[in-house]
């Protein structure tokens, strides 16, 4: 009972302290046409250069459901291990030819949980494909900061509880054009107040195999 009371007190402090000391970085990402952009990743890199190492224990998941990667974009911190379960009834063949992480999980059977773990230890973009389903595509964005968030359908991303300080804030999207203004060199986060860092980015046309509507498989070019 004593212990419980202590925990409650600690929690209270923590929560109270959160309100008092922690603040969020809120970003909205639009494209040039003013449409909200989903799957954009906002990263905030402390200008001090101090980066906390990723917890090896953090395990995230990219599932495969109905021959589609879930999720389309997965931002992770360097050193994170991702597992690749398979919720379909057929096998999949996940591969990456990207520099950041080349790997291949050849024709693996359906399975749930922490199966097929792959650790991503270099920053960069990993494009995932499935050798037997041409249209299947997903991106893993490996960053060197724990402060990142992904925009939702409304184009909004919130990096919660970001400590006060100066940050270099960047936006990334699988289809972002290099010419886009994707970096805000210095964003100052002040204690106790949320900060906004909005982006307008240019998206490029994407060449990929699209899943033919209503078909089991197959694919067409754009």
């Amino acid at each position: 009972m004593k212990r419980l009371a202590f925990t409650v007190v600690i929690l209270y402090y923590l929560l109270l302290g959160g309100v008092g000391y922690c603040q969020d970085l809120i970003s909205e990402v639009k494209d040039n046409d003013g449409n909200m952009v989903e799957y954009a990743v906002i990263t905030a890199i402390p200008r001090s250069g101090e980066v906390k190492k990723a917890d090896k224990e953090i395990i995230s998941v990219i599932d495969q459901v109905d021959k589609t990667f879930i999720d389309f974009v997965t931002p992770i911190m360097v050193g994170t291990t991702l597992s690749f379960p398979n919720s379909d009834k057929i096998r999949h063949h996940v591969y990456s030819l990207s520099e950041a992480k080349k790997f291949e999980i050849p024709l693996y059977p359906p399975g749930k949980g922490k199966v097929n773990p792959v650790t991503f230890d270099k920053p960069g973009v990993v494009v995932l494909g499935c050798n037997i389903h041409d249209w299947m595509k997903a991106y893993i964005y490996i960053v060197e900061t724990p402060f990142f968030a992904k925009t939702d359908k409304g184009g909004k991303a919130i990096i919660k509880n970001i400590p006060a300080g100066e940050y270099k804030v960047e936006v990334w999207h699988p289809h972002i054009k290099k010419s886009s203004a994707s970096v805000k060199e210095t964003v100052v986060i002040s204690k106790g107040s949320d900060m906004k860092a909005d982006f307008a980015i240019e998206l490029k046309k994407v060449l990929s195999v699209r899943r033919a509507p209503g078909s089991l498989g197959g694919g067409v070019y754009p």
């Binding site: 030819l97 494009v127 041409d134 070019y221």
Partner: protein, 540 residues
């Protein structure tokens, strides 16, 4: 006519060709499109090769080149290039030393980035290629695969077999240099073609006529591709001669047929003219014969045509004329020539006309007694000689023997033909007959034939003269009381012992002077008044 057909044919051939070529150009586009699509599809499938994708980023250069070369062979392409996302050549099967150099047609890759795939025509090493560029997706693009298919004569030949036209591809480079890329034409014709084609011709929108060697080619030009100032033109051509070949063949045949038919018609016309002129002249000869009165001819035309029929008809006519001549001759013997003539000249009809006729009856006296004492042959002989002589006298005087009744003669003066002096003719004939009888009797005496005596009765009266009898058989004769009286007067000669007795009417109508003596009066049947009769004994 040949000329007219020829002109029409040429015009229609031209229009047919140009229509065909326009259609051909559409088919050509379609074929090229299909070809492009097929090449694209093939190339895309190549780009899906997983081992290839893996090798692009990991394999050593030699292996990569070997893989690309293998891919090229899979689709039977002429070359393949792998181009990095930075537009540098990673591997090229045609010129391996291009590795690391910038890809020449970067704009095509950029276009591919936009459109996913591009096909175009490029020139390399003096050769012309249809190229297809596709991304290698893993699953984002990691490189560009360029596959080139050479445009050469063989390719064009394949297409030309589908559109039935000669195909030539020209390249007009940006600096205005014109090059024949490939062609289905023979080497010789190509030389003519290169000599004739210029920029103006290529830019013309309508079909043109180009003379290549001996033949005229209707040519249709289409722009296949234009890029960076250089253009590719397709020239579709069809030889007018080739199209007209069937017609020319037909024309030759037609000429031969015409010649043959002319020859045949010439021969036939000669034969026909012979078969016409010959029988015609034969018939003319026959007609001349007929003209000259020779009916006894028979012309021979052995033909089964109208002329044959004509000759048969002619022969029948000659027979007919001959028969008629014979009949008329015979008729003249059987009946008197005058009656015969009358019968032959007129249409013979039954019926008669009233006419004044002087009827003469003569008879051999006591002929019955004579016949009893003499042989029938002798009688006939006598009779014939007598009748011949007497008939001859009557006819000499214009009389007509109506009939012989045994030894009696009935003769008419004034029928069928009237003369103003019929009565005198009859009287003179009667006198001549009695005179001639003396001479005849002297002859008979020599032949031991007893002399004969004759009686002659003459009467002039209105009688009915004409053809009497049945429809098929009839005689020209006269009937009436006048005839009976003449017969009766002849009978009276015995009683009055005179040779010639004439009636009162005859007496009154006689114009010449005769020795006449009145005999008395007789009652004539059917008349109440007696008629005066006279004996004629001679001329004054």
């Amino acid at each position: 006519m040949f000329f007219a057909i020829s002109v029409t044919n040429m015009a229609s051939a031209r229009s047919i060709i140009s229509k065909d070529l326009i259609m051909g150009s559409k088919v050509f586009y379609r074929i090229m499109d299909n070809r492009k699509n097929q090449l694209s599809e093939n190339t895309k499938i190549l780009s899906m090769d997983f081992a290839f994708k893996q090798s692009i980023l990991s394999a050593d250069y030699e292996t990569l080149l070997s893989i690309v070369d293998n891919l090229k062979d899979r689709v039977k392409a002429d070359y393949a290039s792998l181009v990095s996302l930075e537009y540098t050549i990673m591997a090229d099967t045609l010129q391996p030393d291009l590795r690391g150099k910038r890809y020449a047609s970067q704009e095509l890759i950029e276009k591919t980035e936009e459109e996913g795939e591009v096909s175009s025509i490029t020139t390399r090493d003096g050769g012309y290629f249809q190229i297809v560029i596709v991304p290698i997706l893993a699953p984002d693009p990691i490189a560009w695969l360029v596959i080139g298919f050479m445009i050469n004569d063989t390719v064009l030949k394949d297409i030309s077999s589908l559109i039935i036209a000669q195909i030539s591809v020209f390249h007009l480079s940006a600096n205005g240099k014109l090059n024949l890329v490939a062609s289905t034409l023979s080497e010789d014709l190509r030389k003519y073609l290169v000599g004739q084609v210029n920029v103006n011709i290529l830019n013309a929108e309508e079909e043109q006529s180009l003379r290549l060697g001996q033949s005229e080619y209707i040519s249709f030009i289409i722009l296949m591709e234009k890029r960076k100032g250089s253009s590719f033109f397709i020239l579709l051509q069809r030889s007018l001669n080739e199209v007209l070949r069937p017609y020319n063949l037909l024309r030759t045949r037609f000429a031969i047929i015409t010649l043959i038919s002319l020859l045949i018609s010439f021969v036939v016309s000669i034969r026909i003219s012979r078969s016409v002129t010959k029988p015609v002249s034969t018939i003319v000869v026959g007609v001349r014969q007929i003209e000259n009165g020779n009916y006894n001819i028979n012309i021979e035309v052995n033909q089964k045509d109208e002329l044959g029929e004509l000759s048969t008809a002619f022969n029948n006519m000659a027979r007919g004329l001959q028969e008629r001549d014979l009949v008329s001759d015979l008729l003249g013997k059987v009946v008197s020539p005058a009656i015969a003539k009358e019968l032959l000249s007129k249409k013979v009809e039954l019926g008669g006309e009233e006419k004044e006729v002087t009827i003469l009856f003569s008879d051999i006296r006591s002929f019955t007694t004579l016949s009893e004492n003499t042989t029938p042959t002798m009688i006939l002989n006598l009779l014939n000689r007598y009748l011949t002589v007497m008939s001859e006298i009557i006819e000499r005087h214009g009389g007509v023997i109506d009939k012989y009744i045994g030894d009696a003669i009935m003769a008419l003066f004034g029928a069928p033909i009237s003369h103003p002096d019929d009565v005198d003719r009859a009287l003179n004939a009667a006198l001549d007959m009695t005179e001639e009888l003396e001479i005849l009797n002297m002859d008979f005496q020599k032949s031991n034939i007893p002399p004969i005596n004759i009686g002659i009765g003459i009467n002039t009266d209105i009688v009915v003269a004409g053809n009497m009898g049945s429809v098929v058989r009839h005689n020209y004769t006269v009937i009436g009381d006048g005839v009976n009286l003449a017969s009766r007067l002849e009978g009276l000669t015995k009683n009055y012992n005179t040779r010639i007795i004439i009636s009162e009417s005859t007496y009154k109508k006689a114009k010449e002077k005769y020795t006449i003596e009145q005999l008395g009066e007789v009652l004539v049947k059917g008349k109440h008044k007696p008629t005066v009769i006279y004996a004629l004994t001679g001329r004054l």
